[in-house]
Symmetry: D2
Subunit: 365 residues, 4 copies
């Protein structure tokens, strides 16, 4: 179990879905960063279930408590910041079947096989509830980045739900639009279609997958630590650790396979005293290091594994079984994945920023 992410901005989450709570410890946050429980709560509200008719109607208040690392007057101390979110004590009988029956495409079987034990209720550690710690830590990273790189902006949105695409170019995507529709897509023109598709899937007891896109704007040049911690590699690591994420691409991504070098290369030119590129197939990263252009990422998410139809499976004593999903679940994880993707991007960038300051930010004599 490796529940820590980051080398210098080190984030450690903990907690099962039906234990006492979930939480996170952030070690390495610079001191004197303004941070309040409201800052953290605002991000958590964006991932909370029950925020729209598209998400599970489960009610979880998800109120964070900052247990350490912040002074009485709301400044980080440079010491570990511990954040706790209590679980509501709501073990539904809907979960009873999960105790001995492996849900297809869930973590039940592999946790049992690896650990010889499993917190079966609600998925335990493999529950999406674990991402509360990520989002809380992302809020801390956001506050720290606001101090260190005030211009930097991280923005994610739902680009695809099933076969419905939002084709708005990344440069034109606006956060206020994304937050203004429950699907969190970037173009209100397709938001309705996406919403209907999700509701229709749910009405059939089924679920949908899709694609989340993410752009990082006003990135300082120089972030990323080649050769193994290239910026795209650590971003990919971060994103592929999000539950249900099946693919990650940066810049041209899989489309690059179809281009020739002369089509794909990003020509350099000077824009004032800034080195810029004419195109951005590199997705803002060259040689594993940010070049100042927008960082562009896309993440594939599979359809929610919990569905309300009968499925073939086996029990933990290796007997054939039939499972029918119960309980209340998101028919599409995408809308709530948006703040998680942003959180993981911020954690990764913050870590590289601190590394950059350590190794490279000095003047020679």
């Amino acid at each position: 179990m490796s529940s820590t992410f980051g080398e210098l901005f080190r984030v450690s989450t903990w907690g099962e879905s039906h234990g006492a709570g979930v939480g996170v410890v952030i070690d390495g946050c610079p001191p004197r960063v303004p941070l309040t429980v409201e800052t953290v709560g605002a991000e958590l509200a964006r991932r909370r279930p029950g925020q729209s008719e598209l998400t599970t109607p489960r009610k979880e208040s998800d109120t964070p408590e900052i247990l350490s690392g912040v002074s009485d007057d709301g400044l980080t101390l440079g010491t570990p910041i511990a954040i706790l979110v209590r679980n509501a004590d709501a073990r539904s009988s809907a979960y009873d079947e999960m105790q001995h029956t492996y849900r297809p495409s869930h973590a039940d079987y592999t946790y049992d096989a690896k650990y010889g034990i499993r917190a079966w209720a609600g998925g335990g550690r493999a529950s999406a509830r674990e991402t509360i710690g990520r989002v809380a830590a992302g809020a801390v990273a956001k506050a720290a980045l606001a101090q260190l790189c005030p211009e930097l902006e991280v923005l994610a949105w739902v680009e695809q739900v099933g076969d419905i695409h939002c084709t708005l170019p990344a440069q034109q995507v606006q956060g206020c639009v994304v937050e203004a529709n429950p699907v969190r897509t970037a173009d209100l023109a397709v938001a309705g279609d996406m919403q209907r598709a999700i509701i229709e899937a749910r009405s059939k007891g089924d679920s949908l997958g899709g694609v989340v896109a993410c752009v990082v704007r006003h990135v300082p040049v120089g972030l990323g630590d080649p050769v193994f911690d290239k910026l795209e590699a650590t971003l990919g690591h971060a994103m592929l650790s999000i539950p249900a994420c099946k693919g990650f691409e940066v810049g041209s991504g899989f489309r690059a396979a179809l281009l020739t070098g002369s089509q794909h290369n990003d020509a350099f030119y000077m824009s004032g005293d800034q080195v810029r590129t004419r195109t951005n197939n590199s997705g803002g990263i060259q040689g594993g290091i940010s070049n100042g252009e927008d960082i562009l990422m896309r993440l594939a998410f599979k359809p929610t594994a919990t569905i309300m139809t009968e499925q073939e499976t086996v029990t933990d004593t290796h007997q054939p079984a039939v499972l029918r999903g119960k309980g209340r679940h998101d028919p599409c994880v995408l809308p709530r994945a948006v703040p998680i993707v942003e959180a993981m991007a911020r954690l990764t960038l913050m870590d590289h920023l601190l590394r950059q300051r350590a190794q490279c930010g000095f003047e020679t004599h």
Copy 2:
């Protein structure tokens, strides 16, 4: 600069393309694993330039020397294994232009911006020559895996070059076929087309991208360390750190976005005393842990950035410039990427295997 990969099977590469040499130190390899310089050399031969008409005609012998960590009778000692490959002293004048002119879509500009200095000849640390260390370490991992998981097989192949696809299902791919054609694709029926496409691109001074696929067979159940080091996350990290890799997907990957949950879920069934899945959209990984099915990965590679046509760029003093590629380069990195992908897969698996043994491989009293 983070040149170390892995927590327990820790691989640290070093070296610039035109310095004294390149190499790697592997710390954490179990003791008493048979290892010879020939084992390492065989893998290096697969990534060496000049092995076919598809690759750069540069001659590099790439003979490895094992400097430590192996006993006189060819067994690992449990101590760090250092491997050195000398660079041939061949700084061509073809590189002179690179000293002050940034090659588009290369690492020249970002290294300069980050470090304030750059080993310009041949790309320095960002050269593909750095992957020698990876492949040498991968050979060590291969030898160790042969001891710890004798059944495990890692196999990569070129699935796509430009718009030419190899559609052979992963289950049918054979290593001997892959090695029998210079493109390293899995189906000899398309190998010729791919080969011609690459040669044609080169003849135009251009280059091609593509897709490498990789399967891992006979994987032990239980590899992977949730939540941040899910097996797909560390594999993705490993693969996205390979030069020119722009995308990574596991199992259904981006295709998952188009499926419903009822289509995508992998039903469990018993095959003898083994828990198996009817389909493998999960790509052999559930909840970040291997479930014993084949691990399936796909990697997008961009077309080689060095092309023989004129390109707009700037110099390191921020003057506009025109660059025309010189020297001898692969018009398509895919064939030589195959052993690198396999190496990175093995390094990742070996690391998780050791972690698994540490935390989970014990009997309770």
Copy 3:
């Protein structure tokens, strides 16, 4: 701020003395280890203030709550174990002076200088209260070691208080005797003298230092990871991170300086099928690896910095000042240091044990 200890059995503490609470997250604990809140509470009770007339009369109940990582039936899940101990809300006005005046030989000045901010009440992060997390984690390590190495015993005691020595040989020290006297020395014959010396120091508003000894019995052969993580090096790291610890020695320690090689070398002999040594100047460690003999350590502790006499100092605005300690403090940290020393020993051994299992515990084919 690096609040994490260990590579594989990874312990991260957090919390300030007057924030919401203090706590710890343990990542890497093997699954299926019996663990209850009582197990943790029992160790915490040993470090709690107010347990005897020798310690501060402050009342802190220090009741732990296990927030995650343990199943309903009291077995570890292999997931992170988070433990929380709430702070009693007891910011005494005795601390007011600390807000702007640096206490000599405390961390007030250096925290301010490093972080530009400081949780001044009660010492904040530098308070001895931080060790609650260590002791709680030590209780988890103790439970895990009981599964993995049932014979292993870790035992610490107070060997010296001021100039009063307990000369009982380490082999003869018994845990029940140590726990039976409030000083936690190993020989009841000197316990009274030590106790009187501490009470006398307190009556003068002064404090005493001393030495804690620690023995580890029934150690498996093979623990320790040369060359930089030699067992004595990581044990030393662990112990020197305990507040007020000024020195660490293993085996012959500083006494080794006075011996010749012929006096110091530990001759090998066979005892049945076991390789043993006639003497144990090595302190159970050779080449950084345990040899199966008792591990012997000694730690020097300085006298408590908080004293009730006037001291010259400066304020945080760099004005000269005079400080007179207030509040209730231990006149000697040694008795309560004993469970902390044991905890740090267990954390270190547990970590090496997991590393040993990862790299070395396998059979060759």
Copy 4:
């Protein structure tokens, strides 16, 4: 085998005493630091055998080769710096007995027990030759510190050999005096006595231990990462990883046990605009963070384990045996330990300096 030291200034040594060579990779060194092979060679010359009649007469030239990480004009590139020192091929028949017989108080038995294999010639990985990598890395750290902290001075010396003490206060010790006598003590008045004692021990086929002291002057305030990586804890870790080191103390060290709080506390006062302490029992570290006063350390070294007298032991097949040391060895490791101690101090400080720059060195907006 954990052969890496440091988090951000990461040093990985490798090599056995009778393999192809020994070496080190340094990852994380800031770019643009002047570094030449002569800089490294100068430090290596100080630890080389055969430099005086006090050390083994073995001849090892120990010429370093910098394989990577430095530009043609002698500046670090920010990439890993690999340094190689070839072993002279000199496997003496003096070592033959070592193949199957365990040398008392050496690492032969424990390596065999842990790894099931052992590079027996000359001690293999446990040989003092391993410290070449440390000293070479220390030379790199010295060059980097000269850029980042030009005032900082690290100075070690032999304070005690057997029962002969050098009582010169740390403030008065001068590097030129230390280097001017073969014992590397700080007071020429006792150098002769120490020298004679060592020669006499050798003449008896015996060996001596002693104490090395080390002072760090002009330390920036703020180095050290509480709570587990307090500066004394990482320094202790570094020092206790040096072969033959049995004890470590900082500031008052074990002497602290005998002092009262009122005697031990270091009163603060202002010296100009600098916060200073009247005494320095803290040894320059408070709360795990440097306070700007001199850092004072003392290390105990055991007498050389290889002696020329008969010793009881056992073989690797568990037969009783008698061993008589052969070969040429230092009768006292202290003189050659001095540059190693300085190297380890510099590696530790450099690492904390980079960490400090990452987390704390920024202005709030």
